[in-house]
Amino acid sequence: MPGTKEIRTKIASVKSTQKITKAMEMVAASKMRRAQDRMRLARPYAEKIRTVIGHLNQANPDYKHPFLVEREAKKVGIIVVSSDRGLCGALNTNVFKSTLMLMREWQGKGAEVSLCLLGSKGLAFFRRLGLPILASVTGLGDKPHVKDLLGSVKVMLDAYRDGGIDRLFIVNAQFVNTMTQKPTVTQLLPVLTEDASDLQEHWDYIYEPGAAEILDGVLMRYIESQVYRSSVESVACEMAARMVAMKAASDNAGNLIGDLQLIYNKARQAAITKELAEIVGGAAAV
């Protein structure tokens, strides 16, 4: 029979753990809402820039920017967006799994893979594979800023320009809803442009200075905005996953407390019965 005191301390410790998980759940819920807002705010910029690219691409069929030209993929670059902190369920694991699948697919085709890692979980996981890591950023926090991502994005874009990589993918968790986060792979380079056939009106912009320079600047910003959007989305996913994980943890703690309470009551009852028996026994002996 375990001592009642031990059970009581155990209950107290589970209760305090439950308090922590409950607090984390609520914090994650409010942070998730804010991250979703940021996702929404980033949308108009990305949409605008996409239409501009579509237009530019259509208006200048003779000029082909390297970012728009498909070439044979011998080397592949992958940007992996993961969280900095754990306790968020299988979120990061799922992202890593689909990254590994993507890597195996390309390695099967004989391509070399190099990585760019955003978030310290990704860094801790992928550095063991011994693949070249071109760039990494950690400690982006709950509010990633474009300026913190610029360096890494530039490394990858430069690698693409110099032929260091022929394709660039980004793998991040996609926010489906609070319960579901799906790892997705998006091709960043070469840029996949939609057919701008819906642009019926035939008019062209005045370009200043030239179409080439503008296309260069706009494409670079487009990629950056995509990476930014991915990392904001990843934060929203992290928070959602953490919220769900912490909810499960709080529920489990509640069950555990219930069970322990039952054991405690039984132990206490047993102790009382025993004491009574002893008293009765003692009285009978006199």
Binding site: A42, K147, G151
Partner: protein, 142 residues
């Protein structure tokens, strides 16, 4: 003809919308010099450098926004400023890129962080347990 005397102006950045509303006139610091855009301007696409974007609202107010650079798109009834959130220049970008590379290299060279330390400790404990087990087995057998 109220619609003709104003132009809709959107200033958006990757991190959010900065301004959206009608304007009588918009001044933008393009790379080739400041330009003023009045309603029914010809379609134009250009890059802008860091500076201030001034928007004259229909009520005669003048609003100022600082942008770090970006792109400008003009259509007859609409001006869109795609603003950069960060100040950027070639050498600044270069420095950020070098920084990102350096971090990756450091990580690869294996500055032991806490996570890895914990993993190593766990590994050590496992190895110690295995050794103990082996010794016990040896004693029993021999």
């Amino acid at each position: 003809m109220a619609a003709d005397s104003t132009i809709h102006c959107d200033i958006v950045s990757a991190e959010g919308e900065i301004y959206s509303g009608p304007a009588k006139m918009v001044f933008v610091p393009a790379t080739q010099g400041e330009i003023g855009i009045a309603p029914r301007h010809a379609p134009l696409l250009t890059l802008i450098k860091s500076g201030e974007v001034r928007v004259q609202t229909p009520s005669g107010e003048e609003l100022m926004f600082f942008v770090g650079g970006g792109a400008l798109e003009v259509q007859p009834k609409k001006v869109t400023v795609l603003a950069d959130t960060a100040l950027r220049a070639k050498d600044l970008d270069e420095a950020a890129a070098i920084e990102a590379k350096k971090r990756a290299e450091e990580a690869l060279q294996g500055k032991i962080d806490k996570l890895e330390q914990a993993e190593a400790l766990a590994e050590l404990a496992r190895a110690a347990a295995q050794l103990k087990m082996l010794e016990k087995l040896r004693k029993i057998r021999g």
